[in-house]
Amino acid sequence: MSKVRVLVGTKKGAFILTSDGRRRKWSVDGPHFGGWEIYHLKGSPADPNRLYASQSSGWFGQLVQRSNDGGRTWEPVGNAFAYDGVAGTHQWYDGTAHPWEFKRVWHLEPSLTDPEVVFAGVEDAALFRSADGGKTWRELSGLRGHGSGPRWQPGAGGMCLHTVLLDPVDPARMFIAISAAGAFRTDDHGTTWKPINRGLRSEHIPDPAAEVGHCVHRIAMHASRPRTLFMQKHWDIMRSDDAGDSWREVSGNLPSDFGFPIEVHAHEPETVYVVPIKSDSEHYPPEGKLRVYRSRTGGNEWEALTEGLPQRDCFVNVLRDSMAVDSLDPCGVYFGTTGGQVYVSADGGDKWEAAVRDLPAVLSVEVQTLP
């Protein structure tokens, strides 16, 4: 029977949850790297036992850890993230020029085909690539250098490159997203990039339809349709069917279109999940009810999924990297909260159970489906 391994990054360490294909009983292993912030950990699609973890703290900075045995043991690899050439400046919150400074790794995205290749999305926003299993890192500086970099500005959480999507059909194509610069695409392995924000509107910026400056929270894609992208923006759920060249809003009947994660069902490319959050200052669910919303129509028409989720007095948040799906049938959906719960649905979202309830605040959730 298949198994699932859930990789959970928290404010105070990493946890690995495992279950069989029924996804009812969970064993919890951890904390790994206790006391450290684990912004993200993820396994290689090409070698599920190769894991990468971003380990950081306000005291001791950034490390990257690597496992070759599915998270039983770890070894630190490289943490030299040097911007290519003269780092230059971006806009600070007050509009002044501010030097680019490395702060942390938000997201690690292993290659779809080579366990030694991994991408790191970092704050201040840049994309790095390692071809030696994380030992050394090289910036793909065409992203910052494409022209709009000096106009990028941090969101409230910092100027982070938090999303990296690898096109499963075209290995030269990648998508990334930055708060608060927007989404970008490369079609040449990361050498050159273009902003893909046409159709986004953000009322809080001077030019609501600007090329850059949008606070994109997350982008998701189904592997069978890499030209179709779904986006949770600061406000608004957006959809593109031309690889990001244009976007249209599909927020529809959601109680709030603010939120952080967005995810696509493993087998139904038009089934999308979001977790509405009340507002950008009130980072908790509307009415104190934790509800995942599912659209089976690629957006616009959304249904609340509530069975097994707290429907009163719930004021947690669900962060952008904290939702994932497995590839079993029926598809499992997972998300973690800032209250330390990791919720699991083994039936595509109809019913939910907590796999674990009392972890530190969850920063990220990834799922591996294992034979």
Partner: protein, 98 residues
């Protein structure tokens, strides 16, 4: 030998228990001690001093013979008991929340 006490998180990273003892070249200074620490335990590169600026990380402090020397110039010779190995050089994570 210079004696260095590292904070618990860095001892875990370096996989050492208790103090570490290091040979250094030339006078005992913050720079020479930290260079020796990083040479002996490369995993600690970037955790005490910033990788790019080589400056002390903001929430790390250095103590010698009961004195906070964090703001002293990096090449100032440390007190004789440190150089002689009678007292350890302390690397401390600042007491701050989070």
């Amino acid at each position: 030998m210079i004696r260095v006490v590292l904070p618990a998180h860095l001892r875990n990273l370096a996989r050492v228990d208790g103090e570490v003892a290091l040979e250094i070249q030339g006078p005992a200074t913050q720079r020479s001690i930290l260079d020796a620490v990083e040479a002996a335990y490369p995993v600690l590169c970037g955790t005490i001093r910033d990788r790019s600026t080589r400056r002390r990380r903001a929430f790390v402090r250095f103590f010698a013979c009961g004195e906070d020397v964090s703001h002293e110039p990096e090449d100032t010779p440390l007190p004789e008991p440190i150089a002689a190995g009678k007292e350890p050089f302390l690397v401390i994570g600042a007491i701050a929340g989070g």
